[in-house]
């Protein structure tokens, strides 16, 4: 009978990475991921997501702090840490000259999966991610989406306790990207494992993750469930485009008690979380204050609003 794990799947404490030359890629981040949780690191390129994954997979040496996978310290017990994890890298990392099956067999063998079990596992995961018919073809003949599916299958062959997905859909066309998101979402139902996902796509984080850490310039600026992060902005957002200085306009609305502290400006547009007030009330108050609105729209809040409020820029602008 198997024991029940009591430790965190991923435990990161004051983790830092400063590259030679003084570039601080990760500035002392902390987070813990429960077994079975899907945890997202959300941020633009250069935020420190891939460096964090690199440290957790022991391909980047931390310059401070600690990180543990299933209780194993990545710095002092790297082999044990690697033995409980698998990773799907941001770029294609696969032997193109070999067949898909050989790629999966090599992974199984290096991760110590007994051959009989490996054969069963390969058949299962290949079916699950939709590459069963491709396995005996050379990987060099695969499309980008097929190759990415194969890499996910490969990572699953060893039944990792922690699966790292580093920007799993980057560079894929929209249709394949959505298919792949279905595959990843389906993994939760099929596999009892923890997933740590990095992405700069807000919809991915919102759809797949139990919790999201928003990372900006090497620091975690927010960490919560997507619902809780969105709830912080109320149920609706009003975007008000003005024909004058937007920052001064926002200040005017704040003085009148119309805009809350978490309202923010992007270009000439005021983004106003609506809570007690209705959109009509705010628009009327803006008109009373003499602010000429050239455009008005309401929409539900998104993680981009959360990111923007916390960092002052949109994720898409910094990607």
């Amino acid at each position: 009978m198997s024991a029940i794990s009591t430790e965190y799947a991923v435990e990161v404490s004051d983790l830092r990475k400063t590259y030679p030359g003084g570039v601080e890629a990760v500035k002392g981040i902390d987070f813990r991921v429960e077994p079975g949780e899907v945890f997202g690191l959300l941020g633009p390129n250069g935020a420190g997501k891939s460096t964090t994954i690199g440290m957790l997979t022991t391909t980047i040496a931390p310059t401070g702090g600690t990180a543990r996978l299933a209780g194993h310290d990545v710095a002092t017990e790297p082999l044990l840490a690697r033995s409980v994890s698998s990773v799907v890298f941001q770029e294609a990392v696969v032997d193109r000259g070999l067949s898909g099956r050989t790629n999966l067999e090599l992974h199984a063998s290096l991760w110590g999966v007994p051959p009989a079990l490996a054969r069963t596992r390969i058949a299962e995961v290949a079916e699950a991610v939709g590459v069963a018919d491709l396995l005996d073809r050379t990987v060099g003949t695969y499309s980008g989406g097929q190759r990415r599916r194969l890499e996910i299958a490969r990572a699953l062959v060893s039944q990792p306790r922690v699966l790292f997905l580093d920007e799993p859909t980057v560079g894929l066309d929209p249709r394949i990207r959505h298919e792949l998101l279905d595959v990843i979402a389906d993994l939760r139902a099929r596999e009892d494992m923890t997933i740590l996902l990095t992405t700069h796509y807000l919809d991915e984080a919102q759809r797949l993750c139990d919790r999201v850490a928003i990372i900006h310039l090497g620091e975690i600026v927010a960490l919560d469930t997507p619902a809780a992060l969105l709830a912080g902005l109320g149920g609706e957002i009003l975007e008000l485009r003005v024909d004058r200085d937007a920052t001064a306009s926002l200040e005017t609305l704040r003085e009148r008690g119309v805009a809350t502290a978490d309202a923010f400006v992007v270009g000439s547009t005021l983004t106003l979380p609506l809570r007690e007030r209705s959109a009509a009330d705010v628009i009327a108050a803006a008109a009373e204050a003499g602010l000429g609105a050239t455009g008005v729209a309401t929409r539900p809040p998104s993680l981009d609003d959360v990111y923007l409020r916390l960092t002052g820029s949109r994720i898409a602008e910094t990607v």
Partner: protein, 286 residues
């Protein structure tokens, strides 16, 4: 920073960390390299062409034109063994190129994330290079014998020949691996290959005894590990009197000279292998 903990319903049965036994992992890594190398048979055939041409065409032609070495040594056998000094560096240089391809567009990062010691990745490649070189050297010597080269085969001679060839392969692979780890561009690596793989061959007594070189170059040749390898290979298979060893050491006891040369080769091999592991590890982990 706001946080909410997630009370996740799923509790995961703890799977004990699973790792492949070292030998099993080594076998897997070697199998992978063979699969990738066999995928391109040119990697086996092309390095063989030049040494075989030397052994079967150029050496007999030079012997016919110049009358050989004017000694007890068969010149065709002398040159055939000398071309091992070209064959092994070319084969290891190709292997080094494979490391760069692995890093740039292959599965190196996946291997680095595997629960195996990273030095094993080098050993896996090395095992295949050693096998490949053994095959190529065997073909070369066999073709030379068929062409009429005279070899002196004995158990002790084979010990020296195989030992020197093995150490030389490890040494040259260590150099190739170090360069592959430190050089980012394939083009730059390919540009350096002639300097590393071919240039020393001209000074190490591959086609003529080092005593035929000008004095300064003879002194230079004596510090090249390849010169010691050449002398040991010939001591083992061509010239039991150890003429090449005498040219280096000038001593009266051939066995002592052989052990001294072996010591030189071992020292270079150990130092360069350590450097290769360090270079690989440092390039693999940022």
């Amino acid at each position: 920073m706001a946080t909410t903990s997630v009370a996740h319903p799923l509790r995961i049965p703890a799977r004990a960390p699973r790792r492949a036994p070292l030998l099993g992992a080594l076998r897997t890594l070697a199998r992978r390299r063979v699969a990738l190398t066999a995928h391109n048979p040119r990697q086996i055939a092309i390095p063989l062409m030049t040494p075989i041409l030397f052994a079967t065409v150029i050496a007999p032609a030079l012997k016919a034109a110049l009358g050989g070495l004017h000694s007890h040594i068969d010149y065709t056998a002398f040159v055939s063994v000398g071309t091992v000094g070209l064959l092994v560096p070319l084969a290891t240089a190709f292997a080094g190129l494979s490391v760069i391809v692995d890093r740039d567009s292959g599965a190196q990062r996946e291997l680095l994330a595997a629960p195996v010691p990273r030095a094993l990745l080098l050993l896996g490649n090395l095992a295949v290079v050693v096998g490949l070189c053994a095959f190529q050297v065997g073909v070369l010597i066999g073709v030379a014998a068929l062409r009429g080269a005279t070899f002196h085969v004995s158990a002790s001679g084979l010990f020296w020949f195989v030992g020197a060839a093995l150490l030389f392969t490890v040494l040259m692979y260590a150099i190739a691996e170090t360069l592959a780890s430190r050089i980012r561009q394939q083009e730059e690596y390919i540009g350096l290959t002639p300097v590393i793989a071919i240039l020393p061959w001209f000074f190490a007594g591959a086609l003529f005894p080092i005593g035929a070189l000008p004095g300064a170059l003879t002194a230079f040749a004596k510090v090249l590990p390849l010169t010691h390898v050449m002398a040991l290979l010939r001591y083992g298979l061509v010239d039991p009197r150890g003429t090449g060893l005498h040219d280096i050491w000038g001593m009266s006891n051939t066995t002592t000279e052989a052990f001294l040369s072996l010591g030189v080769v071992v020292a270079f091999t150990v130092a360069l292998s350590a450097l290769a592991v360090r270079a690989f590890t440092r390039s693999a982990v940022e």
